[in-house]
C-alpha cells in the first residue's frame, strides 16, 4: 500500500487495463498523505484540523452531563471551532465520557469505526481512565487505553467543563506539534 506506480507508454505487457493507459499515474490516498507529511502543506492541514474539532455527543455516564454543558452556550466551545455533532460520520473527536461497561463496549467500538479518519479520542473522567468509583466492578472495562488510541486524559469526577475545554486545547497543541495519535490512525 502507498507506493506510486508509474508506467511508461511503451513496453507494457498490459495485464491491467488501467496500467495500459499511457501516461497515467495510479496511486492510493495513503501515498498522497505520506507525501504531504514531508511538506509544509501538512502544517496548513493541521491548522485547519485543529480549529474544527467536531465532537460526537455521546454521553455515557454522569460525565456526559458535563460534556453537554460544555457544548452549550455558557462555556461556548464554538469559539475554538469545537461543535457537537449527533452523527459519528460527521465527527472528528470521540469523548469517552464515563464508565465503559462490558455491554456497551461493542457499541462504542462500532461508533468509533463509523467515524472517518483522522479521528481523536479524549478520555473524560476517572471512570474512563481507570475505572474510577467502579474500579473493582464486575461489569466495567478497565484500561480503556488498550482499546482506543487516547490522546488526552482529563481526570476528575466529573471534570469541570473548563477542564474539558483545557483538554481540547491540549489536543489542539498536540495536533499542531504533530505529536497526536489520531492523525496516524
Amino acid at each position: 500500500m502507498g507506493e506510486i506506480k508509474s508506467k511508461k507508454t511503451s513496453g507494457t505487457t498490459g495485464e491491467d487495463p488501467i496500467d495500459a493507459v499511457p501516461g497515467v499515474i495510479t496511486t492510493t490516498s495513503g501515498a498522497i498523505s505520506n507525501f504531504l507529511k514531508k511538506t509544509k502543506a501538512q502544517d496548513l492541514i493541521n491548522w485547519g484540523r485543529k480549529n474544527s474539532l467536531w465532537f460526537m455527543t455521546q454521553p455515557m455516564g454522569c460525565c456526559g452531563v458535563e460534556m453537554i454543558a460544555m457544548g452549550c452556550a455558557h462555556y461556548d466551545t464554538d469559539r475554538f471551532g469545537i461543535i457537537p455533532r449527533n452523527s459519528p460520520r460527521q465527527a472528528d473527536v470521540m469523548l469517552i465520557s464515563g464508565y465503559v461497561t462490558k455491554k456497551y463496549l461493542p457499541a462504542l467500538k462500532r461508533l468509533w469505526d463509523q467515524m472517518p479518519a483522522p479521528k481523536w479520542v479524549l478520555c473524560l473522567g476517572d471512570c474512563s481512565i481507570s475505572g474510577g468509583p467502579f474500579y473493582e466492578s464486575y461489569s466495567t472495562v478497565q484500561n480503556i487505553d488498550e482499546i482506543f488510541p487516547i490522546d488526552v486524559f482529563v481526570p476528575g469526577c466529573p471534570p469541570r467543563p473548563e477542564a474539558m475545554l483545557q483538554g481540547f486545547v491540549e489536543l489542539q497543541e498536540k495536533i499542531k506539534a504533530k505529536k497526536d495519535l489520531g492523525t496516524e490512525y
Binding site: 462490558k102 455491554k103 481512565i129 481507570s130 475505572g131 474500579y135 473493582e136 466492578s137 478497565q142 484500561n143
Partner: protein, 158 residues
C-alpha cells in the same frame, strides 16, 4: 387493615406454609414462605389483603448455610403495611415459581435476579439477562464466591 390482622389472616390461610412471622413495627411485617407456594401466597396477598404493589424482588446468598433467599417486598395502595416475604432455596439448584402472572412488573426484577444470582424462575415468560451482556451469563457476579473482579487498574497512572 393493620399489621396484626394481616399476619393472622396469612397464617390462618396457609398454616403449613407461612413461618417465622414477625411484626417489626406498625407498618413493617416479615414472613417466610415455602418456596413451592410462593406464587399462591402472592395471589392471596393481592386478592384478599389489598397488597397490590410489588416493590422489588432480590436475592441473598448464604454460602455457609448453602442456601439462597428470594426476598419480595410487597406494599399496598390501601393500607400502610409493607410485607417482606422470603423464600429459602437450596444453593445447588435455586429454582422458584415466577410471580409474573400475579404481579406483571416482576418480569424485569426476576430477570435481574436471575442474571446476578442464577436463581431460575420457572415459567417466566422471557428469562434472559436484563443488564449484563450475554457472555457474562453463568458467572453470577453477586454471589459471594464470585472471583472475577478486575485487579489490574490505574496501571497507566502510576
Amino acid at each position: 387493615m393493620d399489621a396484626r390482622t394481616i399476619i393472622e389472616s396469612l397464617t390462618g390461610k396457609f398454616p403449613e406454609i407461612i413461618s417465622e412471622t414477625e411484626i417489626e413495627s406498625e407498618i413493617r411485617v416479615r414472613a417466610h414462605t415455602d418456596r413451592a407456594m410462593a406464587k399462591e401466597v402472592c395471589q392471596y396477598l393481592k386478592d384478599s389483603l389489598q397488597f397490590g404493589h410489588l416493590c422489588s424482588i432480590c436475592g441473598v446468598d448464604y454460602p455457609k448455610r448453602n442456601e439462597m433467599e428470594v426476598v419480595y417486598h410487597i406494599a399496598s395502595y390501601d393500607h400502610p403495611v409493607v410485607l417482606t416475604l422470603k423464600a429459602v432455596l437450596s444453593r445447588d439448584s435455586p429454582e422458584i415459581e415466577s410471580v409474573v402472572p400475579v404481579y406483571w412488573n416482576a418480569n424485569w426484577y426476576e430477570r435481574e435476579t436471575y442474571e446476578l444470582y442464577g436463581i431460575v424462575f420457572k415459567n417466566h415468560p422471557d428469562l434472559r439477562p436484563l443488564l449484563l451482556p450475554e457472555e457474562m451469563l453463568g458467572e453470577w457476579p453477586l454471589r459471594k464466591d464470585y472471583e472475577g473482579f478486575p485487579n489490574k487498574t490505574a496501571r497507566n497512572l502510576v
